[in-house]
């Protein structure tokens, strides 16, 4: 990627004189927020290139950054990197002549969540000073000077003020606000400090906000606000990245990161601040509902000067006419077609006799037949609409075509290249696409077989079902949002919109999905999902710290000390301590195995060194009912359910534990016979191999233990 040639040199030269106080403002664009909210459109094209008012989304983000005077930009790509790269290389932002940025770089990573992306960024060490973190779908005309100035002033005073969030005030009800889920900010207005963050409905699916009583006593004044649009513009210091790296279970920037950092304020002392703006426009196109709202805002000039007639992209020639009608050059309108207000029509689009278009955005090179009625629809480029069709509030993606007299009901989504035969009706709940994923979690798509019942004879396309929807437990929020967009499409939407993986409110589920790859090892969900909030905290911290100690080879006693203090501070139960230990140990073992150590050696290495630590987590040595030890084993078993080779690890671990006398024979038998160890399929499966050990133990308790060692040896070799 060529740096910005002469201009860069020029500006560097001029900077060299008056620099030292002035480091370039850097920005990171998260072009892919790792969600599937725009499915099925995002199957074939990256989200940041979807057109919003006929201009690709990412243009607005670049515009915003240029407006703010940013110099270095890093674009974090996810899916469809090639398309993003091609687009940016062609655009003016990459050209030496026209780009206001001195550096624009694309970063590709294999991350599957924002958390991974942030940790990846941290390891790259690209960001030296304060930087802006924005999504590739921000639409804003906000000048950032005052926010930046305030951030820097705070930072000069206090190194721990690590982040400033820019929030837009928006009243109680607003179309551009997130619907369904509403973020709640608890703010100390005297210092602009954010004290607490929670997303409603929260993890427990309730609408109750629990605030630490200390918050109330420590602050003279607090504001609890839910009238803010979170436009995803954060001014961060590099410390933020370090925090992301320290906690590798953070996935979502708000629900995960923000919530947790604020919670841990007493531990790490980091404060996060807010900058609330009451004028200018700032919003994120976070889902289809927001797509609709922001499009309307742009057409109605709330986002001025980000309007179609500003012609942001090269070659656009929109002109404004009375009533917010924007037409590009070369639009062909039949004499008696009617174009109602708030409409945008792109170049070379033709509209036939008697058609009525209102409140709609129509791309370039579309052919709209005679007598067509279009209301509130978003029609992208190269679309054909047959005579007499009726299109209501829906999205028709590029190169789609509709036959004659089709009816598209409000809420329908028709993806790229779909063609629909004559006289078909597409319901508001349907999403029609032509391609499907080859495998889950891959970008490759293949064309599916047309479903003629839906698209009619000669059509192509089928109804889209997201593969994720079966195992996702989507909260109701997305449904409401969709319902808000397409108010006709109400309840029946619930099943369909499940696919929309809501990263902000779905942290827990994300984690369990990505456990194997992303390395987030606090997998609470599968064993005990009724964990309290507080405990959750402890789990993160304790597991992380034990794991770190294991990796670095600290002594048992030290780990024990740390663990105890953590336990005291969070008032965690013994059960949680055990779980943390199990999670950390298993994590370390699997890591060693991956590195090539044999299962047995790995287990011996990890468990062997820390006998003390293990024994001190269980306190029922002399009792007849070994609940603690059984609990430990259940946890171990549960944690191994989803691991590769979990069964053999379990066998070795159990053997080792018995050998070390950490777990007594009785406890082992109690565990085996207890109901918890065979509750479900996964649990049964993982313990299969351990049968040998139990058999042996049963034998040995009945007979003499003369041959114990040899038997044991054999057991292990049999793997």
């Amino acid at each position: 990627m060529p740096p910005k040639g002469k201009k860069a040199q020029g500006s560097e030269k001029s900077k060299a004189q008056d620099d030292e106080r002035d480091e370039p403002l850097q920005a990171v664009i998260l072009a892919d927020p790792f969600e599937t909210r725009f499915s099925p459109f995002t199957l074939e094209h990256p989200r940041c290139l979807l057109p919003l008012a006929n201009t690709p989304l990412i243009e607005y983000t670049f515009e915003f950054l240029a407006n703010a005077g940013v110099e270095d930009v890093y674009v974090y790509c996810g899916a469809h990197r090639d398309q993003v790269e091609e687009y940016i290389n062609e655009s003016k932002w990459m050209s030496q002549v026209a780009s206001p940025f001195s550096k624009l770089e694309l970063i590709q990573s294999t991350s599957h969540s924002i958390g991974d992306a942030m940790r990846d960024l941290d390891t790259r060490g690209l960001l030296v000073g304060d930087f802006l973190l924005v999504y590739g779908d921000v639409v804003s005309n906000l000048p950032l000077e005052s926010a930046l100035a305030q951030h820097r002033a705070r930072r000069a005073k206090d190194k721990n003020a690590i982040m400033t969030m820019v929030l837009r005030e928006a009243g109680t009800r607003h179309r551009t606000k997130a619907q369904g889920t509403s973020p709640i900010f608890v703010i100390d207005p005297s210092k602009d400090r954010c004290l607490h963050f929670e997303q409603m409905p929260n993890k427990e699916q309730s609408h109750f906000l629990s605030i630490d009583p200390l918050t109330l006593s420590d602050h003279q004044e607090i504001e609890i606000r839910q009238d803010l649009i979170d436009c995803g513009i954060d001014i961060c210091t590099p410390d933020v990245l370090a925090l992301w790296s320290d906690n590798f279970d953070f996935q979502a920037p708000r629900k995960g990161f923000l919530h947790q950092v604020l919670k841990d304020w007493e531990l790490n002392g980091k404060t996060i601040h807010t900058h609330i703006v009451t004028d200018h426009y700032a919003a994120r196109v976070r889902n289809l509902h927001a797509y609709d709202a922001v499009s309307k805002d742009i057409v109605s000039r709330w986002a001025y000067p980000l309007c179609p007639d500003s012609n942001l992209v090269r070659g656009q020639t929109y002109r404004l006419q009375k009533g917010n009608i924007y037409k590009e050059d070369g639009v062909i309108l039949a004499r008696d077609c009617v174009i109602n207000p708030k409409t945008v029509i792109g170049r070379s689009t033709s509209v036939g006799d008697g058609s009525i278009i209102s409140n709609s955005i129509i791309g370039r090179h579309c052919q709209i037949g005679r007598g067509v009625k279009i209301d509130g629809a978003y029609i992208w480029d190269h679309v054909n609409i047959g005579d007499g069709s009726i299109v209501n509030k829906s999205i028709i993606a590029s190169e789609a075509s509709l036959g004659k007299r089709c009816i598209i009901e409000a809420g329908a989504l028709i993806s790229h290249g779909v063609s629909i035969g004559e006289r078909k009706t597409i319901l508001g709940t349907q999403r029609i696409t032509r391609s499907k994923r080859k495998r889950d979690n891959s970008d490759e798509v293949v064309r599916g077989e047309p479903d003629t019942a839906i698209v009619g004879a000669g059509g192509s396309g089928f109804e889209f079902r997201d593969s994720e929807e079966e195992d996702e437990d989507e909260p109701v929020d997305e449904l409401v949002a969709r319902g808000g967009l397409y108010n006709l499409a109400s309840l029946s939407f619930s099943a369909e919109s499940i696919s929309t993986l809501n990263s902000e409110s779905e942290e827990d589920f994300q984690i369990s999905h990505q456990r194997s790859e992303a390395g987030s090892f606090v997998s609470v969900g599968s064993v005990d999902s009724a964990t309290s909030h507080h405990a959750h905290n402890f789990d993160h911290d304790a597991a992380a710290s034990i794991y770190d100690s294991l990796v670095e080879g600290h002594e048992s006693a030290n780990i024990q000390l740390e663990l105890t203090s953590l336990r005291m501070s969070t008032n965690a139960s013994e059960h949680q301590v055990r779980r943390a230990v199990v999670v950390a140990f298993v994590k370390r073992i699997t890591q060693l195995i991956k590195a090539g150590t044999s299962v047995r050696d790995a287990v011996a290495q990890v468990f062997g060194q820390h006998q003390d630590l293990l024994t001190r987590t269980m306190f029922d040595k002399n009792a007849s009912n070994k609940t603690d030890q059984v609990d430990f084993l259940v946890l171990l078993q549960g944690d191994l359910v989803n691991k590769d080779g979990g069964d053999s690890i379990l066998l070795s671990a159990a053997t080792k534990l018995v050998e070390m006398d950490v777990i007594e024979d009785d406890a082992m038998v109690q565990w085996w016979e207890g109901p918890k160890s065979s509750e479900d399929e996964g649990m049964r499966k993982v313990r299969e191999k351990t049968q040998q050990l139990i058999d042996f133990l049963n034998q040995s308790s009945e007979e003499e233990d003369s041959e114990e060692d040899e038997e044991d040896e054999e057991d292990d070799d049999s793997e």
């Binding site: 106080r21 002035d22 606000k177 000039r301």
Partner: protein
């Protein structure tokens, strides 16, 4: 003033600063994006930025071929005007500089032709005094009907074609030369010129829908006689660049002195104990009134121009400074109050009620159009209409650089619609969702509502403006 420790948003001052160290081509793009983002807006900053850019363009221009220089400036002009067609001043400055180049060339050609007395083509030097007969003769080749049919097409092409990057070369209408023999054949390029206006005064034609038909290819006209002659001149020995740079410097000086030279006329127009009504935060008007305030006592009624200009109006009344951020090159002046003038600020809605007591209305303007109409901050038309109803004289003060040869065929095109959020707070969700809000930033005030223009040259009747346009712009350059 510029950039403390904090990164500042780009604007005029940062642009002028960067211009020194940046090559021409990035600077052009930079200005285009600033114009698009409205980070440089209003007439004076636009004029200053454009002029600074052009002086850089001329300074870097290699070679002595005047035709190439003209084409280069013209091409930059097209890009700039298409970026923000409503900042007409940008086009004005481009045309002024183009005229300057031509003048330099012609002066020298004249000297050459006089010396050699080449009889092949006698080129009458284009002194302004010769304009009138030529224009009349060329207009006579058109029937009025032809004009009417050509008008909308020209208006659309003037704005639209310029906006598209792709088609700008091919779609340009034929150049207009002032040679009478060179009668245009197809698309009536003359309609933007002055005499066109007077044959159709003030009738934005009903058919102003863009037809979508592309004007015929006009490339060939580059070889017009005039440019040939310009090209010829490259053989002669004279310092093209130096003279043009001097001319640009003169325009720069003119820009700086505009306010003062307008203010020199103040005493002729403002008398003791008058009540003067004005609007918006205009430095020109403020200086004008201040100049009068040195000798006379009068009362000023100031309309606040809510919603888009009221903060600037307030601060100009209180501190005499428009905005503390932007106009650093502009020296601040004392507010009228401190000169002992009583200033009454009223909301826009009170204009009609108070008009009966007002002796004179003084309006600032965004652009003055060739037919004597003006585009000014919204609210101006209401003030002018109220003044008309009360037979109160309306005086418009405007620098010459705001005077544009553009004829208003489509008034809607000239008016920019701004941020709806300044009318209704964006927080009001229901309002935003259910009500369409429009916020025009400018008003079109037709010529018959204006009694007098005061420019840096003195006072003129609106009907005389065509003459000043002819003095300052070459007919060849009216279509960029």
């Amino acid at each position: 003033m510029v950039t403390g420790a904090v990164v500042t948003a780009p604007g005029l001052s940062s642009y002028l600063k960067s211009l020194k160290s940046t090559p021409v081509e990035p600077s052009v793009e930079h200005l285009i994006s600033l114009l698009k983002r409205r980070q440089i807006r209003n007439s004076r900053p636009c004029a200053v930025a454009t002029l600074a850019l052009l002086s850089r363009v001329v300074g870097e221009f290699k070679g002595r071929d005047a035709a190439k220089l003209v084409e280069r400036i013209r091409q930059i002009g097209r890009r700039l005007t298409s970026a923000q067609p409503r900042e007409v001043v940008v086009g004005n400055i481009i045309r002024r500089v183009l005229g300057l180049v031509r003048e330099v060339v012609e002066d020298n050609v004249e000297a050459v032709t006089e010396a050699t007395s080449d009889a092949g083509q006698s080129h009458p030097a284009h002194h302004d005094s010769l304009h009138r007969p030529q224009l009349i003769s060329s207009i006579s080749t058109f029937s009025p009907l032809k004009h009417a049919s050509a008008e909308p097409m020209d208006s659309s092409s003037h704005y639209s074609e310029n906006m598209s990057d792709s088609g700008e070369m091919s779609k340009r209408p034929p150049l207009l030369t002032s040679h009478t023999s060179y009668a245009p054949t197809s698309t009536a390029p003359l309609v933007n010129s002055l005499f066109g206006l007077f044959s159709h005064p003030d009738t934005p034609s009903a058919s102003n829908t863009p037809t979508g038909v592309q004007p015929p290819d006009g490339k060939g006209t580059l070889t017009s006689l005039n440019l040939e002659r310009l090209a010829d001149s490259s053989h002669s020995r004279f310092d093209l660049k130096g003279e043009v740079m001097n001319g640009i410097q003169e325009i720069q000086d003119e820009l700086e002195q505009t306010d003062d030279s307008i203010a020199d006329n103040a005493l002729h127009h403002i008398h003791s104990n008058e009540i003067i009504l004005t609007h918006t935060a205009s430095s020109t008007v403020q200086k004008f009134l201040l100049a009068a305030a040195r000798k006379r006592k009068f009362t000023v009624v100031h309309v606040e121009t809510h919603p888009h200009d009221h903060t600037a109006t307030h601060s100009i009344l209180l501190t005499g400074k428009k905005r503390d951020a932007e106009d650093d090159e502009e020296d601040s002046w004392k507010p009228l109050r401190s000169a002992g003038i009583q200033v009454v600020m009223i909301p826009d809605s009170h204009v009609y009620a108070i008009m009966s007591q007002v002796n004179k209305v003084i309006l600032a303007t965004h652009t003055v159009l060739a037919n004597g109409a003006l585009v000014a901050a919204s609210g101006a038309r209401m003030i002018a209409s109220a003044a008309k109803a009360h037979q109160t004289p309306v005086v418009v003060v405007s620098g010459l650089y705001k005077l544009s040869p553009v004829y208003p065929f489509d008034i809607d095109e000239l008016i920019e619609y701004g941020d709806a959020g300044s009318v209704v707070p964006y927080e009001d969700g229901d309002f935003v969702d259910l009500v369409d809000v429009e916020n025009p930033l400018y008003d079109y005030v037709p010529a018959d509502l204006v009694d007098l223009y005061i420019t840096n040259l003195g006072g003129h009747a609106p009907s005389y403006l065509y003459r000043i346009v002819a003095d300052h712009y070459r007919t060849e350059d009216i279509n960029l």
